[in-house]
Amino acid sequence: MTPLPDHLLESFAAEAVREGLADALFGVVDTPIGRLVIVQGGHGIVRIGFEAGEGDALLAGVAGVLGPRVLRSERELGAARDAVSAYLEGDDEELDLPVDLALVRSPFRRTVLEHLRRVPRGTTVSYGALALAAGNPKAARAVGSACATNPIPLLVPCHRVLPGTGRVGNYGLGGPAVKTRLLQMEGALDQPPLTGPRTDSL
């Protein structure tokens, strides 16, 4: 099957955006950890995940929440693709893109992820500390679920959350090896995990 020409797809997507017809837009970017799908809703990035294996389910999940008019546009997603790609190539700037937690239904998980979003590059946080920051110190396990179902890895930095065991812990976007690599890249692994994020706002 030959896909439609890029210029036709982009022109269609641009017109759809102009008319306000798109519920969500996505692009695909090649990175050192694999090909990633980045989905943008009305207020920011709503979803990031691997294209292989989960790509179709990922878009269906977005369509179920934001609406079925999900379109591909590499041009509209250009800035986000560049930023994610640069970050994973080792660029040492904070990955800073608008984020929209629309896909997170549970209020507690949303609170957790909002706090996690403020954990800066180069630091880590424990599940317990994040539970405390989210207002429920006993909810470390629920914080684990919030991280495991984080729809926007990298932008909501669940790789910066470490278990109390001193190990690096699991990671949805490519397993512990990727998590370790991200933390090393950020210069966060040659120090012991902190008990809390280094920000006063928490």
């Binding site: 099957m1 896909p3 439609l4 036709l8 759809a16 179920g64 079925p68 379109l71």
Partner: protein, 155 residues
């Protein structure tokens, strides 16, 4: 949020699965120089109507009908010499089966039946052959002849 009450697939998956065959269809109807305009117009019309669909059946046939009517309309608007009261930028009303019927109305019964089986009922050629009591090759031939007649209307 505009969550659909029924589970429509992401629109992109339709474009991905059927875009190339719609472009072929548009080429047959409108010629290679206008085919991309026709497909873009058809996809926009489909996108406008998409959230209001009541079911997710026969989406491929639905896209073929929209592409067919878009080909006719793009042709008409290009050849319209009398300025009408309706500005050309007015959004097209939603394509549906009535509109498709209006477009194929000038054809004979046999050609209309073939087009309906293919682009309304969404049947494969084997099934069309069963319904028309002919061979699959003959069914394909009837559809293709009917599409050619539509095209001749455009040129």
């Amino acid at each position: 949020m505009t969550a659909a009450s029924i589970a429509l697939p992401p629109f992109w998956s339709l474009v991905d699965a059927h875009g190339d065959e719609l472009l072929d269809h548009a080429r047959r109807l409108a010629g290679p120089q206008h085919a991309e305009d026709v497909v873009q117009e058809a996809l926009l019309r489909a996108l406008r109507a998409y959230p209001r669909l009541r079911h997710a059946d026969h989406l491929r046939a639905w896209l073929y009908r929209i592409t067919t009517t878009a080909a006719i309309d793009v042709h008409r608007s290009r050849h319209r010499e009398v300025v009408t009261d309706v500005p050309p930028s007015r959004p097209f009303h939603d394509p549906d089966i009535d509109e498709f019927e209006a477009v194929i109305g000038f054809l004979g019964d046999s050609a209309r039946d073939a087009l309906r089986l293919r682009f309304v009922e969404d049947l494969e050629y084997e099934a069309i052959a069963d319904r028309l009591d002919c061979s699959p090759a003959a069914a394909r031939q009837r559809v293709s002849t009917a599409v050619r007649s539509l095209r001749e209307r455009l040129t």
